[in-house]
Subunit: 333 residues, 2 copies
């Protein structure tokens, strides 16, 4: 599998990105790695890592698209950016997947414009794998690429999410719909209509799911309008960070016993933190475009990038794009 | 202040409800307490608490509305229920506030039907006070009473939320709008239109707020469509519970050091838990009806009910209903 990595996208680029991509290569020698960005800088980082540049193809791209750029304009004008160079390479040189930790807007806009949609897909969706308390994962689709969705789009998200989970080995994935109540009659206009479509579909639809149950392990795919999914994802993220901060404050501000206790549970805490840290699962798949595209968190460090590259590799090897194309032929009906 | 409490609403009714209401009375002797429900059972609980029934008015109401009842039908048919008896008392006997931990749908439907709206209010909204990491509180309005809101309704939620926070002593409350991005141009059709209205209003509007920042302390009022607010609230609740469970598992399953550490930080953990437990703030205010109505969490125990009764007392004493009526005269424009 040939995987293109945007070495200059993200808060910790380029050092952590290059390091993570090399880490993936060391974990799976079958990967052909392409890095885009400033060639001299990338070569310097590789030499610091004592890694031979011969095993990696470098595409020189001197400019960078940042979060301050307007996505559509930047994709059109900054053709020499690491992001556009990566997407162009993906399209023209028959690579299999693309990974970037750059501006979400620019990655999604760029992928949609340059790579295009799979046949019958109305709108691609951004789908992270979230951790559940029982150790399983749930795919939240969509978490922000599309707001003001139509019910048919939510059905398509279900079909694509189902195809992805099957591709990574989940048998007969349980598909749920994010809603303000578990009962069938509950919901806003959009979710009521989407519920009816999902219920009639060929999917293993298990009904509505409330936001409090996302991490419960009760479903494998959670279908949502991008606005709803975004709120659920960010509320969870914010709460998790706030609790861990409060926990730290409680331990450091709680006297000698608490400090000693904190030291004793440090290892357990760390393993717990890694369980709920969804960035350790890699990134969010941009499902529905004609190549595998993975958007890693903007704050991704080497470990996340490594996981994202391996995730992209796995999806490409599993033939995800072809499988979605097949599933979308009849759109789940 | 005369406060009516539905003694038979909620998972832990009637014992915990009666106990909590009595607790509020002991904390503030100025409260006139009315309990609705099975008179003999209430009297028995009071006698077990060694509390004289003379200080409390009891309205006998033998039946109960449960979560399985269809709200509108139950409000109309179960006129001898503790909930309907409470709302009827509130309306006819010039009481000041009502507290119930019963079925959310039935409490909201009942209050809207029996008590009615404040003039110029299109739709009342359910508004809990949520804890922030800096010790402040943020009022989330609406958290589920209204889905598919119109932009004008969100402006009204802002006006009512502002009036409530002023009534409980917050100066010049900062009003934010729950959105999928902080930038002004971000959002779904509803939030974009609501943003424009809030920006033009007399409120101290501080812009869009992402769900990850709810607990940050960056605003005093968070305006949301009930569907969006519901997802944010429940995602936070679910994440908090999941993390505390994982933390417990990590400690109990982590060997002797972790167990000892867990014992040593127990006190700090408990104080942290009480900080993030929004049920300790009382309940969610049903803002926009012509009396103070507080919906306590269905799982409320005595402590939460006590806080909810004191919260209702405070809101009634502050003249919340009159203040909202005043603010709604020009609807924030």
């Amino acid at each position: 599998m040939k995987i293109v990595v945007d070495a200059f996208g993200g808060d910790n680029a380029p050092e952590e990105i290059v390091k993570g991509a090399v880490g993936a290569l060391l974990a799976d020698g079958g990967i052909d790695l392409v890095l885009t960005g400033k060639e001299d800088v990338i070569k310097k980082i590789l030499s610091e890592l004592n890694f031979s540049p011969d095993r990696i193809e470098i595409v020189n791209a001197p400019s960078v698209i940042t979060n301050d750029d307007v996505p559509t304009a930047a994709i059109r004008s900054k053709t020499d950016s690491s992001l556009v160079a990566g997407l162009d390479y993906l399209k023209k040189n028959n690579a299999d997947a693309f990974v970037s930790a750059g501006s979400t807007g620019a990655v999604l806009t760029g992928a949609a414009l340059k790579i295009g949609r799979i046949e019958n897909v109305t709108r691609p969706a951004l789908a992270p794998l979230l951790p559940c308390v029982d150790g399983s994962k749930i795919l939240l689709i969509d978490c922000g690429a599309n707001v003001d969705c139509r019910p048919e789009m939510l059905l398509q998200f279900g079909v694509m999410g189902d195809a992805y989970m099957r591709a990574i080995g989940v048998k007969n994935p349980r598909v749920a719909l994010l809603n303000n109540g578990a009962e069938e009659k509950k919901g806003c206009e959009l979710t009521k209509a989407a519920h009816a479509l999902l219920k009639e579909s060929v999917l293993n639809f298990v009904g509505n799911m409330e936001a409090r149950d996302i991490m419960s392990g009760g479903a494998d795919v959670l279908v949502a309008d991008g606005f709803h999914g975004n709120i659920a994802l960010k509320a969870s993220e914010g709460t998790a960070l706030s609790i861990l901060k409060l926990l730290k404050d409680a331990i450091t501000g709680g006297g000698i016993a608490a400090k000693l206790g904190g030291a004793l549970i440090k290892k357990s805490l760390k393993s717990m933190k890694s369980k709920i840290d969804y960035t350790e699962s890699g990134g969010a798949l941009f499902v529905g475009v004609s190549k595998v595209v993975v958007k890693a968190h903007g704050s991704a460090k080497a470990g996340t990038i490594r996981a994202a590259v391996l995730q992209a590799n796995e999806a490409a090897k599993a033939g995800l794009v072809e499988k979605i194309g097949e599933a979308m032929k009849d759109g789940g009906r």
